[in-house]
């Protein structure tokens, strides 16, 4: 004797096909210059930043770097839809989000150049710094959202995670408590199909990752992450629901990691070349450009002039980055505690002496 005690479903939103053609008649809000041209420009800028960051790394001028190639639409649309007083809790691939939220590109380079000051930009307000340990950011986002709720601030928190990260307890505990407490959080899964070398299919047998929301009793949906229009629709509504106290949303944005995992990775070891090739036909940047071209909102002239501008912006940031002298040895000790404890202050002093010694050429030259 069986009865149905629960039914749930996940929907997928798409507006543009791979070539940037509307899949059906476009709604009115989707037409016109704003916000699409701005989105496009940010996406181009992000890609320019990415290209240069990789080349800096290749020439020994930057540390291991996580490319956002292929995730430009997700990053740009999410960040653009956020209000200044919303809070971003990023993962390590959200450079464009951070730029749009106000972090100068030079600071992003500092971060990836192995300098803590990259996370210290005053422009970051109360946004959290990058979380490297997978999925931990999801719980921080819930904590921040709880703080907003306790203070009756009607703002949203947005956090992102990769497809691989959805297997880790932190993410699953986070969506559960977000539901239980109806927190104003939007969780975005950047499902780029790979977690380093592990394909999406090996993380989870469920056909969608969005359906993890059903287990937590929260709203979950899929969106084409290469489709800026669809992202604008889905993420925008989720942020509004969060701000209106209507609870959390889990959004699985379907994308593809067009790059290696990081500059330390070599994806040819494990990833079929034709899969990558096919993914390029869904490139989010080309798709939006085509759609704008089609509507005569963009053309080759604007493209070239924006590309030049983007290049300039990035080069200027690189110059600032490269001109930034390293932190002094005391900075290893200054920020650990609100006030430096006696023993640590002593270690700081010894470290300063040692550093002088090292600069003067070692123990023998004392």
């Amino acid at each position: 004797m069986h009865e149905v005690s629960y039914q749930g479903e996940i929907r997928l939103t798409r507006y543009l096909d791979d070539a940037g053609n509307p899949l059906a008649d476009m709604p009115a809000w989707a037409c016109g210059e704003t916000p699409w041209v701005g989105y496009y420009q940010q996406m181009v800028l992000a890609r320019q930043f990415d290209t240069r960051a990789i080349s800096l790394q290749r020439t020994g001028q930057l540390g291991t770097y996580a490319s956002l190639l292929g995730a430009e639409a997700i990053d740009v649309v999410c960040a653009s839809l956020m209000q200044a007083e919303d809070v971003l809790v990023p993962y390590y691939r959200n450079h464009a989000m951070q730029m749009i939220r106000g972090t100068p590109m030079a600071q992003l380079l500092l971060y990836w150049g192995g300098d803590e000051r990259g996370s210290a930009a005053p422009e970051m307000h109360r946004d959290l710094p990058n979380a490297v340990p997978i999925a931990t950011q999801c719980l921080h986002a819930c904590g921040v959202a709880t703080a907003l709720k306790l203070r009756n601030e009607h703002q949203a928190v947005l956090t992102m995670i990769g497809d691989g990260g959805t297997s880790k307890g932190d993410f699953l505990e986070a969506i559960n408590v977000a539901g239980a407490w109806q927190l104003p959080v939007v969780f975005i899964i950047n499902n780029n199909q790979w977690a380093i070398s592990v394909p999406r299919s090996k993380q989870c047998i469920a056909p969608t990752l969005a359906q993890k929301a059903l287990g937590a009793g929260i709203r979950g949906e899929q969106v084409d992450g290469n489709d800026a229009v669809a992202l604008h629709d889905v993420v925008g509504q989720a942020l509004e629901r969060a701000r209106a106290g209507k609870g959390p949303t889990l959004i699985e944005a379907l994308s593809y990691r067009l790059s290696d995992h990081t500059t330390a990775d070599d994806a040819t070891r494990y990833r079929p070349a034709d899969e990558l090739k096919a993914a390029w036909t869904r490139d989010p940047v080309a798709r939006l450009r085509n759609w704008l071209h089609r509507q005569a909102l963009w053309d080759e002239v604007r493209e070239q002039s924006w590309l030049a501008e983007a290049r300039q912006l990035v080069e200027a940031a690189i110059t600032v980055y490269q001109a930034t002298p390293p932190q002094g040895v005391d900075e290893l000790y200054n920020h650990l505690y609100a006030e430096c404890p006696a023993e640590l202050a002593e270690q700081r002093e010894q470290a300063q002496t040692r550093q002088q010694r090292r600069q003067q050429g070692g123990a023998d030259h004392e």
């Binding site: 803590e116 000051r117 109360r126 719980l139 819930c142 904590g143 932190d170 920020h335 023993e343």
Partner: protein, 330 residues
């Protein structure tokens, strides 16, 4: 509650109430801390008094409790989270070590984690497996985490207030074996105690006994008996804050007495007794008239309760170690 004699457990409750009262940014969070008042009643009555928004029962997930606390505290909410028993703290460690301890350093001071994680610890209450651990050394090894352990009602009140007001993450470990051991007068005056100092509980001439948590009881009892029975005058120091440690006080005392015994319940190997012993030897070797001794738990698992007394050091163990140290000659 002003001016009543209260237990250590009640002092914890009193400090929590005071902190909630004084600062609307203080929030408590944990499993069963609401209507139930915590499994030990440390939060008894606080939800009724301060409401469900400030005294929050969480879903059952320690990783989540720690992760939420990190997020909350970056926004200036002073979160006092309870882990029901220290044996269940492990899922919280990634957030404590990788985030709470690092947030200020990582952002060069832009953000910080003014949070407290409370957990009862230690054996001797006939509890089931995993309810009797003393793993303070794991936490005290982490730069950026302050680790604080009270050993009396007065210190529980003053140190917990200090921990909550501290702008750094603090692990506050409560020796549950002495939660209700005795009552003393605690004035609810809102005064915090310092987190950067050891407490000298008893001055002495002959030897320094160094301990923390519940073992302070046995240590004081041993000192008492040694004075009565053998005219050995022990200086007894409660380390209280295990990271960063106030080595200066310990060093000064051992310079004076020339001898010391360090007592803790946690396993010997890599316990904090080692850090204290090593530092003393390194700093005051020439003042030492005998090797420092450690009286600790052995390097095995705390047994189930039927045999737990076989594991725990007792007053006689301390007395023997003291006598042997006093009698040491090269």
């Amino acid at each position: 509650m002003n001016n009543h004699a209260i237990t250590l457990l009640e002092a914890v409750n009193l400090a929590l109430a005071r902190a909630l009262e004084d600062d609307s940014d203080v929030v408590l969070m944990g499993e069963d801390i609401g209507a139930n008042g915590g499994v030990f009643r440390a939060t008894d009555g606080l939800q009724a008094r301060f409401g469900e928004r400030r005294v929050i029962d969480t879903p059952l997930a320690e990783t989540m409790i720690a992760g939420l606390s990190v997020g909350l505290s970056t926004q200036g909410i002073r979160t006092v989270a309870e882990i029901q028993f220290m044996g269940f703290i492990f899922p919280a460690l990634e957030h404590l070590i990788a985030h709470a301890a690092r947030m200020r350093n990582r952002t060069r001071g832009r953000l910080s984690c003014p949070m407290v994680l409370r957990a009862p610890f230690g054996g001797g209450i006939h509890a089931p497996e995993h309810h009797s651990e003393s793993t303070e050394a794991l936490l005290a090894h982490i730069p950026g985490l302050r680790v604080v352990i009270p050993s009396s009602p007065v210190r529980a009140y003053g140190l917990l207030l200090a921990a909550i007001r501290c702008d750094d993450p603090v692990i506050f470990l409560e020796p549950k074996r002495i939660y209700r051991a005795s009552k003393t007068l605690v004035e609810d005056d809102g005064n915090a105690l310092p987190l950067d100092t050891c407490f000298t509980l008893r001055e002495g001439r002959d030897i320094t006994l160094i301990s923390w948590g519940a073992m302070i009881q046995e240590t004081l009892a041993a000192a008492h008996r040694l004075e009565q029975e053998d005219d050995i005058l022990c200086e007894v120091i409660d380390v209280a804050t295990l990271n960063p440690i106030d080595h200066a006080t310990l060093i000064a005392s051992v310079k004076k007495t020339g001898r010391c015994v360090i007592i803790h319940e946690a396993p010997h190997h890599g316990g904090l007794g080692a850090e204290i012993s090593a530092t003393l030897c390194e700093q005051v070797l020439t003042s030492l008239q005998a090797p420092p001794r450690r009286v600790t738990g052995d390097d095995t698992i705390m047994p189930y309760y039927r045999n737990e007394q076989l594991y725990l050091p007792d007053v006689d163990d301390i007395i023997m170690a003291v006598k042997e140290t006093m009698e040491y000659s090269g």
